[in-house]
């Protein structure tokens, strides 16, 4: 094994994965029986984005759009490029016969109602993350997927990003030693507020800015942190056993009800820790996950992964010949405690593709082949429950012990761990 193997993405390996997914770009080769008709519940910003992605997959048609805000119909039809049927009641959409699969992109607090109804209507469902707003919602969605046996994929698109998968594989292989900590952040510098049409503020504020109000929203942890929590749960092969949190409405005091900054610390059964931070007043650090192992580190962003090797020392789990030597500051001011500012080894991971597109392609393939998606209801449940209990730690201002809310937490963790080993 050489350094390249430790650090570099083997282009052939990942290329093969990417080609497998990218193999078919043309709709001509899709048999009529393999066309997938999709109905959409929730045609807001995220819904429209995912509709565009689905329409880039050969053999997909949008056959129904549902929203309670009428301007979304015109916007949605602009995305589909045709006079797609529109509904203002999701039950009507689910009654339509020309729908094979349903995309649910509604506010978090409505996921359970919409996803369960869609599963009960015998449709495959792509449900946006986070899985559900409460532990109970998450349980209900997972149980409905199991009960109906229908395909359910949760919108954790980085599950399909090659550079994330490669990082998981290398971490699993012990390439950065034992992972003890993950520091995740999603730092922005904006109000997280959507503009409301002039003169209609009173009627539309809560509808368009639902993310800012507790009734429907899980806040920054649900909307942003879910991806990172999903990744941490996969790295540690378990759900956390406890969470503490801090945060508040400290800068954007504009009537919102959810925190504009939030820090949550999750402890995992193996003694590992996830420190997750969300701020809306500074974007220096952007969105990233820093995975710290005894032998090295990985920094993941939305587009790439960078690998670092710890300087050789007796505790290093990685043989020195595999090391990328840190170019530590030398000379009289040398200090081993200085942060490392040099470059690591960058790896984008095979064919660069949009993670949402990869996730949509996987979903459609699963619908056609009746295959279970990788990001299934179990993956979603693990993520959704972790988010819900992280939020609970903040709301209650105390340490939340997961087993108090999940009778079968241990076995659930074991299941997840088992799944990870298999995949």
């Amino acid at each position: 094994m050489d350094r390249r193997e430790f650090i570099g993405i083997t282009a052939a390996g990942l290329g093969a994965v990417a080609l497998g997914l990218e193999g078919c770009n043309s709709p001509h080769s899709i048999a009529p029986s393999d066309w997938v008709n999709v109905g959409v519940i929730g045609v807001g910003g995220r819904g429209q984005h995912m509709m565009r992605m689905l329409l880039r997959v050969p053999g997909v048609r949008m056959t129904g759009l549902c929203d309670i805000y009428e301007p979304r119909f015109a916007e949605g039809r602009k995305v589909t490029g045709e006079a797609t049927a529109v509904y203002n009641d999701y039950r009507k959409l689910l009654e339509a016969r020309d729908i094979d699969a349903v995309l649910v992109a509604t506010p978090l607090g409505l996921h359970a109602e919409h996803v369960i109804a869609a599963l009960d209507s015998e449709r495959a469902v792509y449900g946006e993350k986070s899985l559900g707003r409460t532990v109970e919602d998450c349980n209900r969605i997972r149980d409905a997927a199991r009960r109906t046996g229908k395909i359910f994929q949760v919108g954790l698109q980085y599950h399909y990003a090659p550079w994330y998968q490669e990082a998981l594989r290398r971490i699993g292989d012990g390439r950065i030693g034992k992972v003890t900590h993950i520091h995740a952040c999603w730092h922005r510098n904006n109000s997280w507020r959507r503009p409301v049409p002039r003169g209609q503020e009173a009627q539309l504020e809560r509808l368009l800015n639902w993310r800012l109000y507790r009734e429907w929203s899980g806040g920054l942890l649900a909307e942003l942190g879910s991806h990172q929590i999903n990744f941490a749960n996969a790295v540690f092969g378990a759900m956390p056993e406890s969470a503490i949190a801090s945060g508040g409405i400290d800068y954007w005091k504009d009537g919102r009800e959810i925190p504009d900054n939030l820090q949550v610390i999750f402890r995992y059964p193996g003694g590992q820790t996830l420190v997750a931070s969300y701020v809306t007043t500074n974007r220096l650090d952007g969105a990233q996950e820093r995975i710290f192992g005894t032998g090295g580190s990985v920094v993941l962003t939305h587009t790439d992964a960078t690998y670092f090797k710890e300087p050789s020392d007796p505790n290093s789990a990685v043989p020195p010949e595999l090391a990328i030597q840190h170019k530590l500051i030398t000379g009289p001011t040398y200090s081993a405690e200085q942060p490392y500012h040099g470059k690591g080894e960058s790896a984008k991971g095979g064919e660069a593709e949009d993670a949402d597109l990869l996730a949509c392609r996987e979903f459609i393939e699963c619908v056609r082949s009746k295959r279970r998606p990788k990001a299934d209801e179990n993956v979603g449940w693990s993520e959704g429950v972790t988010v819900a209990l992280g939020n609970r730690a903040l709301e209650e201002g105390r340490r939340i012990v997961f087993s108090e809310y999940l009778g079968a937490a241990t076995s659930a963790s074991q299941q997840l761990s088992e799944r990870n080993r298999q995949s």
């Binding site: 503009p195 049409p197 002039r198």
Partner: protein, 357 residues
Amino acid sequence: MLPTNDAVENAAGEVNLRPSSHQTFPNPCGANLAVAAGDTLRARSHRAMGTEFVVYLDAEDGVQARACFDAVFDEIDRLEITFSRFQRSSELSRLNRHAGEGPVVTDPEVFELVATALDLSEKTGGAFDLTVGRLTRAWGFAGGQPRIPEQSELAAAKELVGWGNVILDAEWRTVQFARPGVELDLGAIAKGYAVDRAIDMLRSLGVSALIDAGSSSVAAVGEAFSRGWKVGIANPLDRGLTICEVELGQRALSTSGVREKSFVHDGRVYSHLLDPRTSDAGEAMPGTGAGQVLQVTVLAPSSMLADALSTAMFVLGHEHGSAALAQFADCSALWIHSEADGIRCFGHGWPGDDFLS
């Protein structure tokens, strides 16, 4: 670059313009924005698509203005991620990677923009060409160091440039190239499209606003201060001087000029506005040569159309350009040529003609 005269900048980089007297704020696209005493404009800039987008809002409510800025810039970023030639995960890059192998299905928004670009390529006889990217790269104008390419490089690029290489199937929504190696470059149209989408968004929000995209595109919605949005067309030889003023109503404005990106070699000025038909870089020597096109400004019903046509009108020049422009409803153009003693202006349907030759 945001104007700074009499401006108050807050921590978020937002600038509120409070001029003490009537004055014109020069902006980098050759258009000058007129703001009168007592008016308050909020402005914020954002870097995307290789240029600087500046949004000016006539909004009293600061919270709402901030949300508008964020929403507009999010939408512009989305379109950059979609149409970028440089980001490997963009939809355009995916088409460029695979359309040489066979038909590739894409979403209606992308298909429509490609189809529009192809239609404009045909109507302008290739003066605007959606496959010009390889040529731009050969000349080093695509992020590299601009230079005169080797003949072999130019010949290789020429083989792959030509809108006839793009095959679209509207029924199946597929894009295909006649040969491998062809590349789509929507740079001269995507920025205008982004402005159009931003304007649509602001219109639906009931906001009066002007958007200036870097060195070429300006569009407005609503009536600022009940007087409309007025912009001035700058003299390419002296940006401080205004040649004429235009009121932006339903039409968007786009300017193409040699000054945006150019380099000098052996005393000749080579512009990024390449002629895809001949593969030559536009040549001009501002202030010295006579009859050279220095700048073209187009008014069109959409910013997307104005963008593409200002590029094409620059390449075609006044005479051929006028004939081509006649195919497009409600479009006007202003050509500024260099003369031995200054500049000369030619118009096609241009509002106000007292300064025209």
